[in-house]
Symmetry: D2
Subunit: 89 residues, 4 copies
Amino acid sequence: MKHENALKRLKNIEGHIRGIERMIEEGAYCIDVIRQIQAVEAAIKKVSTMILDEHINFCLIKAVRGEDIGERERVLKEIIEVFDTANKT
Amino acid sequence: MKHENALKRLKNIEGHIRGIERMIEEGAYCIDVIRQIQAVEAAIKKVSTMILDEHINFCLIKAVRGEDIGERERVLKEIIEVFDTANKT
Amino acid sequence: MKHENALKRLKNIEGHIRGIERMIEEGAYCIDVIRQIQAVEAAIKKVSTMILDEHINFCLIKAVRGEDIGERERVLKEIIEVFDTANKT
Amino acid sequence: MKHENALKRLKNIEGHIRGIERMIEEGAYCIDVIRQIQAVEAAIKKVSTMILDEHINFCLIKAVRGEDIGERERVLKEIIEVFDTANKT
């Protein structure tokens, strides 16, 4: 399956988030909660980078090499939007 | 309970991530997956900001007003570490 | 001239930086200095976004529409590198 | 003088920006201009981090250890504002 590694990481992140929910329910110290959330943020960013890299190295390169001008423009605009969003998050 | 709103949001994020896992399992287009992950990133950042704001406005202000010099230094170092990590993520 | 507006902004930023140098020489309060540096950071980011947008809307679109496969790949790799650097700064 | 190293770096950055202005005047390739601007962005961020670290390790620690509650709150709010701005830039 495509993105198998990313899928595994998302399942871990899901478990990590459940752990943070428990911390909050048990009244953990704010800073400890925030540190765990920051770890989740870094983990999700990693997954997003992995999928983006795969997209660039396969789908995007293939489309840019292809004959279809409309498709080439489409994938370009798409990736620029993704980068713009990433820059703002 | 403290951070009740944050807890609710984390449960939503958990569901969102499960949705992304299904997208990957069903072979969704990379860019659609990435957009969902970016939405999760923004949602988690929001939760982390909420908890941080509460920490600053309650625990931190209280400690800084308090008599205990060691405690004042401790909370200051703690918050600077959190901000440093946030700046790098 | 191309990037005329960006050029004007860079000249302003140059003057802004000279002002910050004077602040430091005159022993200004750190936080006031930092606030001015943060204003410069935002101003430079704005210039970089302006030039990048122009590049995307003219050079990049033109290359992606063009016949030269090698050139199409080259401009794509180039823009991805720029975005990667932006994401890390 | 305080922040002597930061001052030297700001003077270099000023020269760097003048170089970028010349590149634009001479019609340099957008991507080459952007790369130089990104280098300036990183250099300015470095200066800002240097001054911030000095502020934290001297002024801020001193104020937080001090007797003046109002002053302690003031420096705390100030630093949080600076970090908030940094997080958004």
